[in-house]
């Protein structure tokens, strides 16, 4: 019985990783850059909802909408100011380091604006928990909403990329920027759009992360961000279904490792499994097929 509840806990932790990993993998798949500031955009989303809903008493839907709009603007701005000038001129390493810089910038701005005190986030999810086996097994409302949002977003993104003109342009840019430009695709615009979508996803991830683990500090996004990055690599970075699978697998391994091996060693076990998977399949679980497909 406790195995089943560990499994459910693993899936619920994994679904949070998965939804963050979707944003990572989306940006990587198209712009071919690791946006390390993604975790911190999530934090900004979390704070926006916290102030709108918990402090100002606005309805949760408006708070979420506000966070999506704000994070989208933030994503576009970051891309425009910090990444675009470097993309043509410098190596990809410079862009990566800039992303780390942006991440610290956002954390410290949040520290200045919101202060260091921990804030308790009120969950915006109102779906009731499901109780099975006479209350022995509880699936929280947050888990249900997170998993459903993950699947909806995954399907939505796949359809968008394969069926719309803008999505096709993204595919083209991800394959060959130079050639795409020659074909009349606005490469910068496409990458901006990618960041806009990635950051909007970050706002939703922030909402779900903070609802599941209701404590909010300027560093809230950084560790889940790194774990989600691992999940994205695990599933095959650049692959959208891979992010979902990688996230869930990572969460389950982490929880089962904690439960049956050692609660201190949870992270060590996760990373050990990552190393083994990458040795056997260097592109991640779903990496290969998707590499040319986004």
């Amino acid at each position: 019985m406790s195995f089943i509840s560990y499994l459910i806990n693993g899936i619920s932790l994994g679904s949070v990783y998965a939804i963050i990993a979707l944003g990572y993998t989306m940006v990587y798949g198209i712009a071919k850059m690791l946006n390390f500031a993604h975790g911190d955009v999530i934090m900004v989303g979390g704070f926006t909802i916290f102030f709108a809903v918990s402090m100002q008493g606005l309805p949760p839907m408006i708070g979420i909408l506000l966070a999506v709009v704000l994070c989208t603007l933030l994503g576009i701005t970051i891309e425009y100011i910090a990444y675009r000038p470097l993309r043509q001129a410098a190596s990809s390493l410079a862009v990566l380091i800039t992303a780390i810089g942006v991440s610290y910038f956002l954390q410290n701005m949040a520290l200045l604006i919101f202060g260091a005190n921990t804030k308790a986030f009120t969950s915006v999810v109102t779906v009731p928990a499901i109780k099975l086996a006479e209350g022995q097994i509880i699936i929280s409302g947050e888990t249900i909403v997170t998993i459903i949002s993950c699947i909806v977003i995954m399907i939505g993104l796949t359809l968008f990329i394969n069926k719309t003109k803008a999505g096709q342009a993204m595919l083209a840019v991800s394959e060959d920027k130079g050639a795409a430009q020659l074909m009349g695709i606005n490469v910068n615009g496409t990458i901006s759009l990618t960041f806009a979508i990635g950051s909007a996803l970050a706002a939703i991830a922030g909402m779900l992360l903070c609802s599941a683990y209701p404590s909010l500090t300027p560093y809230t996004g950084s560790m889940p961000g790194i774990k989600a990055f691992v999940a994205a690599v695990f599933g095959g970075i650049g692959s959208i279904p891979g992010a979902l699978i990688g996230g869930i697998v990572l969460g389950v391994i982490e929880i089962l490792g904690k439960a049956y091996i050692s609660s201190q060693m949870a992270d060590a076990i996760v990373f050990l499994v990552l190393i083994v998977v990458l040795l056997v399949k260097p592109t991640g679980i779903l990496g290969k097929k998707i590499q040319e497909k986004v």
Binding site: N9, L112, T118, K119, S215, T217, M223, A266
Partner: protein
């Protein structure tokens, strides 16, 4: 061209935002700095007027004028900004309040105290820099640092200089390895032993689970001593699970294991941020054990927007509660609230006590402000083992030569969203 202009504008606006942010913190720093200077200048004024009147009276009085013009210089260090700012600001204010009170009452042996607080952002290196700044200012005694890591870093320097150091809240045993350093708060091992004894002797529970942070000195230090003492107590540790700094959001496994083991009480030798998550997650699981913690849980009620109903009934060993009924605490709390507009926490009380402990040690030893830093330190070191101080954080506090404090721990329970002393 147009694009360049736009991107320049955006960059400029981002810079302004950044500078505005810096400006804010800068001005607040300047604000607190100017309070310090104001005090200093008013002290200096007082000294000057005294000297003037004395010279008017005649040259005989001149030596006495020198003596009364000399001041004790107490420095303090703590994180006034950054992640542990709550603690540092409390120490800054607590010490400030005690020094103002002492100065208004005529100082120590007729000598005023000058006070200077430096921010270390809870960073070891910055703490040593702050120490050096205070040394240049002429510090004779140090109240600091506020956190364990910084205290350890600073104590290496203060031992070299043989400067008297009294840490209000650095609770690690490593803070007091040098003989010039003393503590106001309990050491971590004492808290662990105290908690185990309290649970055992009061029969709070028979089956106890522990959730601790294995990556933190404070938490693992308490846990080890707690587990050691538990062997002598009539309760059993049925589950002890750890988490680490990198893995501190999901506690479902730790709680599930405690639940499966049938624990009636969960001991949480951790800080309040993680504890608030544990309480929330236990509630979501429908698991309702008792919770027991140490002074790290102090502050859980101040987590913004936290549902304090979840913390109802949580017990903690902490030396100070702002709503205690005794006269000294009441007077301190109202004076603190009037001066700083905030309810004092344990750290403020520790720092307040620290200043009075220094006062008691000076009075005992007769250390004069003209003595060298090293002489003052030697005299105070000897006096510390002889004095007994009744403070906010303990009755009849006394010290071993090693620097650890002897006092009774107090157990508090959270009742109706407030800390209440368990009688």
């Amino acid at each position: 061209m147009k694009k360049k202009v736009v991107s320049l504008l955006l960059a400029a606006s981002m810079m302004t935002v950044m500078l505005a942010g810096c400006g804010n913190s800068g001005s607040s720093d300047a604000g607190s700095g100017s309070v310090g200077t104001q005090e200093e200048s008013s002290d200096a004024d007082a000294a000057e007027t005294e000297t003037e009147t004395n010279t008017d009276e005649g040259s005989d009085a001149a030596p006495a004028a020198d003596a009364s013009g000399a001041v004790y210089k107490i420095g303090a260090i703590g994180p006034a900004t950054g992640g542990a700012a709550v603690y540092g600001i409390a120490v800054q204010n607590g010490a400030d309040l005690a020094i103002k009170e002492i100065n208004e009452a005529g100082g120590i042996n007729g000598h005023m105290i000058e006070y200077n607080f430096q921010d270390d952002e809870c960073d070891n290196e910055k703490s040593v820099n702050a120490y050096n700044t205070l040394k240049d200012w002429g510090m004779q005694m140090l109240v600091g640092s506020t956190t364990s890591g910084c205290s350890i870093a600073v104590s290496a320097e203060s031992a070299n200089d043989n400067l008297f150091q009294l840490t209000p809240s650095g609770s690690s045993v490593d803070c007091i390895t040098n003989d010039n350093v003393f503590q106001v708060c309990f050491t971590d091992p004492n808290q662990g032993v105290g908690a185990a004894q309290y649970i055992g002797s009061n029969g709070v529970a028979e089956k106890v689970a522990v959730i601790y942070d294995s990556s933190d000195v404070y938490s693992s230090g308490i846990y080890e001593k707690f587990a050691g003492e538990a062997a002598n107590q009539p309760f059993e540790i049925v589950s002890s699970e750890a988490f680490t700094a990198d893995n501190k959001t999901d506690f479902s496994v730790q709680l599930q294991k405690a639940k499966d083991a049938g624990a009636e009480l969960i001991f949480l030798p951790i800080y309040y941020t993680e504890a608030s998550l544990i309480l929330t997650q236990a509630n979501a699981m429908g698991y309702e054990p008792e919770f027991f913690g140490c002074d790290g849980l102090d502050g859980i009620l101040n987590v913004e927007n936290f549902d304090t109903a979840l913390a109802e009934g949580v017990m903690l060993l902490t030396p100070f509660a702002a709503d205690a009924e005794d006269e000294a605490t009441k007077a301190f709390v109202s004076a603190y609230e009037a001066a700083y507009g905030d309810t004092p926490n344990q750290f403020a009380a520790d720092a307040y006590d620290a200043v009075y402990i220094i006062k008691a040690a000076i009075e005992k030893s007769g250390a004069a402000p003209e003595d060298s830093v090293s002489d003052i330190c030697d005299k105070l070191k000897a006096a510390m083992t002889e004095i007994s101080v009744d403070g906010l954080t303990g009755e009849a506090m006394s010290w071993e030569a090693g620097g650890a404090v002897n006092k009774e721990p107090k157990a508090m329970e959270i009742v109706n969203g407030n800390y209440a002393l368990i009688q």
